[in-house]
Amino acid sequence: MKSISSMLLVLTAALILQSAIAPSTARADEIIANNSSTASCSSSTTPPCYTTIQAAIDAASAATGTTYTVRVEPGAYQENITLKGITVRGRETARTIVFGSGTLVTAGTSSSAGSISNLTFANASIGIDATNNTASFEIKNNIFMGLATAVKLQGSSNTTISNNVFYANGTAISTDEDRVIKNNIFLSNTTMAISTIATVANITYNDFFSNAADGVVWETTTNIADDPSFVAAAAATPDFHLQSGSPCINTGSGAVDLGAYGGPDTDTIPFMVSGVTTSLDTTTNDVTVSWTANPDYKVIGYRVYYGKTSGGPYDGTGAVDGSSPISLTTGTADSTYVLSGLTSTVSAPGTPTDLQSSPLNESLDLSWSPAEGATSYMVYWSTSSFDISSLPTDSTEVDQTSQRLTGLTNGTPYYIGVAAVAEASYYVAVTAIYATSDTDPGVSNESWYSSEATTGIGGSMTGALSAVITDYPEALVAYPNLESKGPRCFIATAAFGYYSAPEVRALREFRDRYLLTNSAGAAFVRWYYGHGPVAAAYIDAHPAYKPVVRAALMPAVGIALFMTKTPFFIRAVVALFFLMIALMIAHHLFRKKLSGSGGAL
């Protein structure tokens, strides 16, 4: 199960990467099944497209006049399919996966002819059940893995099973008759390879290796029992292509390869190249491209694509070996290539314009219009004014045209400027090829593009500074604004610098909750607002006094914080404490007075 999960994860990522560039190779008599979320799939298109295999089969079955086949695009299909005599073919065997529970494919009617091919079946009770299907039915070029029973035949008098891989199932094939089973590979099946009660003569040209039991006594002139030497059977993304030297190469009936990638109907798209990285020689500006070699014995080489646009098109020019792509045809062993001669010159980028700031609590949201030729931007900020000749140390480099500056102080004005940076960057992808004749990745004889790697060449150039703007962060405001908008705490605001300072807010909250709620407190507030502005104006005019005033206000701020921020229980305990002290003092004074009067009150 872990294997299928990993496989699906990798598959999903690869499909998203490739969905935008998938070429159309549909024939007129095909109906497409494609469950990719990025595909534009509609029954009204040509060819018709459905998001489930069963819907495509139903459409093909209902059609009159034309015999349609169903082509299944790469994807993970969690379905239980009834075949209805329709030929179903996956576009890429390893990446077209049918999984789920119960029986994945039922082909059990007497008239279910056709074939099912180039699919991977995983994790269910039964992969294909052809019980009672007496029509000519072919199961070919599939991979069966993790199934309790991969293929079940009973009364399936004309079913043939060829060029499949049965890996790590319980029972690979269960049959009550001597059916044609050829060119298959049975590896590591945990119950048995073939379970049958029949005397068999048609089980030929197969490879049985490392199964709990083979289940049949097969003749040894054509069947073998050798390690098939798959590329990576047990990997998270299994690869059942054959490596060079595999005993299954050309040893099948008709001198074809055994397994899912042999015979005339195999898919012809190599596995994607993985592990692509780039490194730069800063002296020569040579870019070394490295990847993990694909040991599939059919791989004759690789193509290295390069360009200046991320995601393609990879239409780079200027490398000494030629324009993109560069073909390497020295076999599977290649895993590096040096791109040399790439130009490192870069023009000065334009100047970012329309720099804007949106203040938030202790942060500023910045945005600006992109500058021509920019590959990134430097954002500068300071509490002092600056220009291009006196850039501040507070800066950050970003790839996008927006940035949030955080950790700022509310009420403090900040100066902000942005400059564009230009760097000669190249983006590289690698494909594996079976032949040099085809040049469309993912169509035939060439794999899909690998994941992209990038590198910057040479130095970078910083453009002119944008217009420097100023703004200050400020606390957000709730709706409705229930924080008092009444007259300011003039003196505190003047002393602490700004209206939303925590100390000022504490005093304001104390005023609203404890002073304005009673007549005496309200009278004091009225008196304060009558005289406070005079004092505040004096403090504003004499900033040197601000620290003194702040210190003088601290006890009031402390009381305000205590009264507004501590739970009622704490306040009650403290009040009780002071009440007890007051009672003790009163008691003490009373006794003192009593003793002074000689005990007479």
């Binding site: 700031s357 949106s358 203040p359 938030l360 609590n361 703004d471 200050y472 962060p473 400020e474 606390a475 957000l476 405001v477 709730a478 709706y479 409705p480 604004n481 229930l482 924080e483 008092s484 908008k485 009444g486 925590p502 807010r505 909250e509 609203d512 909750r513 304005l516 921020k565």
Partner: protein, 219 residues
């Protein structure tokens, strides 16, 4: 409209099957458990909170001075989460932009008098109206900004609705409610409540219109 009024009058008439049943004593208290939606009167609520109303739950307890008149007290709770708006210094007039999250909670405390149009203990539908004093407590926080704004505003409320007696649906259950819990009657009711409670120092109206439904137990 006439048909509806006629139907209500018909329902208000005691059912024949209950007309002969007379309770020896009458209930003195009523307990309401209710819930519904509260739509604040503030015009821009939906702009900041995504919708124009919020869930409200309330409970009231009333003493019956007369069968048709009761005094009581009730408390409710309504809470909504939405977005705050960015500092006023950056926004053009009327163009404040949303940022951050805000939580606003309202807890209305109502003291009320309520009149019920009941003429028989077995009346199926009982209309009622009520009014009273309201103190609207509020709590408000802006996430990750610290400090909870608290306060209250005084005002009034009026409400009205219909109570549907459930006793007739299952007489044995109604009898059990009486014998086990001394609940004389159980009503399903719907009501509309309009509240005004203005924070005078801020000129912010915290009242609104509530549409509530619930169960009323008389005991």
């Amino acid at each position: 409209m006439k048909k509806i009024l006629l139907l209500l009058l018909t329902l208000a008439v005691p059912a024949a099957s209950y007309a002969e049943e007379q309770l020896l004593t009458l209930p003195s208290w009523s307990l309401e458990l209710k819930g519904g939606t509260f739509a604040p009167a503030l015009d821009n609520w939906a702009q900041y909170y995504g919708r124009k109303d919020m869930p409200e739950y309330a409970v009231t307890l009333a003493y019956k001075v007369l069968r048709q008149l009761e005094f009581g007290v009730g408390v409710g709770a309504a809470r909504d989460r939405g977005q705050a708006y960015a500092p006023l210094h950056s926004a053009a007039a009327g163009q404040a932009y949303l940022a951050g999250s805000v939580s606003t909670k309202l807890y209305p405390l109502n003291v009320f008098v309520l009149a019920r149009g009941i003429i028989s203990e077995n009346q199926w539908v009982v209309p009622y109206i009520g009014a009273g004093w309201t103190r609207m407590y509020y709590r408000q926080t802006v996430d990750e900004q610290g400090g909870e704004v608290r306060g209250s505003a005084d005002g009034y409320h009026v409400r009205g609705g219909l109570q549907l007696c459930l006793d007739g649906l299952d007489e044995s259950a109604a009898n059990n409610m009486y014998t086990d819990y001394e609940v004389y009657h159980t009503y399903l009711f719907i009501e509309v409540e309009k509240t005004q409670a203005k924070v005078k120092s801020l000129s912010v109206e915290l009242g609104g219109t509530a549409y509530l439904t619930g169960l009323l137990f008389e005991f």
